[in-house]
Subunit: 391 residues, 2 copies
């Protein structure tokens, strides 16, 4: 206990923590190593005790609860990487609180960005990650070795009947995964309870004709109390997977879907809203953490993100960072598919395949409907299939 | 229907929408009015059909579903404000989908910021907002006309017993609302099931002694399936309100807590993680929307945010914008307390009171423990009360 400070709290208990730590790497803006370390020490306090250092009531808390910084490493112009090791107990065995320790309060501060996260095995046992991952989804689809092909049912405003007809044609054309557009919720023009059975049936009918295993993934992003009921209704109606926006409906709600063995459906994660936290450059979460790490910890089997050169602004480095976060060894969670998207077109299939390799899922939406003269939707899908097979 | 475009979708249905619209105002980066309008048209598509304009399969969707832009208004150097009117049906009567239409995909684009939101009465009927608001919380506390005083139980690492002792002293000293630190979840050093009854009992005991109505607000930010059970357990244990982090556990989960009449507890919203979306300057959500509008629509009764000059970087304009978003007429949801925080100290009470007026809640954490010589925690709380009463 520091001397000269008047303590307001007396806690006779001795903490008996495991001593195990998880690690977060932050990039901080700082002029030199000393300033970077000072910043790191602030983060150590901010993300745990949120209390002035001098007033921490005992050394046990100071030593066992407060994050511990590693020496800063230079990371470019006025940028430093600092790794901080937090006690596993601070996360309390819950994904919500883990994210809170990693980045809850410092998300509100400029000049600090969460770059990566490393969890020990004991934490990963509690966060097993995707039920399927790349390997499981390939087995489900019986597509062992080429990029998976995905598209979306849209535009919003079509009737359930028209969306089902669309789904049928897309499945007939050889698409592997047909998801609801993330803007299809439970609107009066195509209510969930009508849309999902119709589209699932349409895809099943196409599968009977083609002998393939195309999956239909309805959007179960919904009010908190409706997420599980909709996922169960989707499963009962024959859906082959789920689309979910963790930024709109909660990261842990996605984990709940993934871990529910009565569902056992693959999950495609969409970055609506939360993707804004990765815009940076020196705030928020790295694309690796946001699209890769968090999605894997929360059980997504594939992560949609905006590939460079579409309607969004991601760089090649960002996209590589996402692919790394989705597919590298995390010690527990299986690798998941990166899903480059955001205005992709058929003429970029080859480029996408060489950028990501075979272990990616190509998501093309609107461009499948930009037919060449004489072409129909089924034929255009087949062209998508052929382009991916050739790439 | 545009000519020369090959349509892939045939939908014989005629939409029968109400024609009612809600409005979002965005600030876009653009060199001139024409560029701003082009950007607005892109947003109109992105946030609804997410489909190339030329390929939209019928005029009904084009006219009734796609957002409609108002003429851009100059808003400074290369900045324009554009208001977009979306059909109420696009939001499908759900807060998750409303947020998705307002800002789901464009959150991933730089150079566009959601500045404000205006909803018509029919939508607000479905989103009644806070159960208490400023008036209700004042009645609950029997504090008709001064700023409310709030503090947090911390630091993380203390036992439930020590936190309860702290709560007792804080309540004895005259604090109105004592919340769990947002970092207190269900950790082994103070498990939820032990901490909450102990702290609630301690505050009740102090209330019996003082005759006051101090409220204890445990943190029910939790995994999706645990939010409601913890809130119910908190209520049963005598908690007087709830602390919730919608960025960690979902905005609609907070709405669920607010609308649950078996709970009927006031809610204090904490910006962990999601606050990063307001850092801007030309991305994300304005502080007004993030702290004010969304919290009110999701039923919070008070919104914590970092006041200028603390450990965070908000400007005076940001803080005024938050106060506006919390307290102005929205057409339905009651005004809620702005809760300036983030390293506030006793010597700033007067400044805070003149900045926000009496309708604010002052949250001072660590500084209540920075005792002057001879002072104890109860006395220091009383000084906080006296400073707020005098201001």
């Amino acid at each position: 206990m520091k001397s000269g400070v008047h303590m307001t709290i007396d806690d006779p208990l001795t903490l008996a923590l495991s001593g195990e730590r998880f690690e977060a790497r932050y990039r901080v803006r700082a002029d030199d190593a000393a300033a970077a370390l000072a910043r790191a020490r602030d983060i150590c306090l901010e993300q745990t005790v949120e209390f002035p250092e001098a007033l921490i009531p005992n050394d046990t808390i100071r030593e066992q609860i407060v994050g511990a910084p590693e020496p800063p490493i230079a990371a470019g112009d006025a940028a430093w990487d600092v790794s901080i090791r937090y006690p596993v107990e601070a996360a309390g065995g819950e994904l919500t609180q883990l994210v809170n320790v990693l980045f809850g309060n410092v998300a509100l501060q400029p000049g600090v960005r969460l770059m990566d996260v490393t969890l020990p095995g004991t934490m990963l046992e509690n966060l097993p990650g995707p039920r399927f991952g790349i390997g499981g989804l390939r087995r489900l689809l019986d597509v062992p070795d080429r990029p998976l092909l995905c598209t979306a049912l849209k535009p919003m405003g079509l009737s359930a009947q028209a969306l089902a007809q669309l789904a049928y044609n897309l499945a007939l054309g050889g698409i592997d995964l047909i998801k609801d557009d993330h803007g299809l919720a439970d609107q009066p023009f195509s209510p969930f309870a009508e849309r999902v059975p119709r589209c699932a049936e349409a895809v099943a009918r196409a599968n009977r004709e083609t002998g393939r295993r195309c999956l239909y993934l309805p959007n179960v992003t919904a009010p908190a109390a409706a997420v599980l009921p909709r996922a169960r209704a989707a499963r009962d109606a024959g859906a082959g997977g789920l689309l979910f926006c963790p930024g709109l409906a909660g990261l842990d709600a996605m984990r709940g879907l993934a871990s529910d063995s009565s569902l056992a459906l693959p999950i495609l994660s969409h970055p609506a809203l939360i993707g804004g936290l990765a815009l940076g450059p020196d705030t928020g979460l790295s694309p690796r953490v946001l699209y890769g790490r968090l999605n894997r910890l929360a059980g997504a089997d594939a992560a949609i993100f905006p590939h460079l050169g579409g309607r969004f602004s991601f760089s090649a480095d960002d996209c590589r960072d996402i692919a790394t976060g989705c597919t590298d060894a995390m010690g527990g969670p299986a690798p998941i598919f990166p899903v480059p998207a955001g205005g992709m077109k058929l003429d970029r299939v080859q480029e996408l395949c060489s950028f990501y390799g075979r272990d990616c899922m190509l998501l093309i939406g609107g461009d499948l409907h930009a037919l060449e003269p004489g072409e129909d939707l089924v034929q255009r899908c087949r062209r998508f299939v052929a382009l991916a097979a050739a790439a």
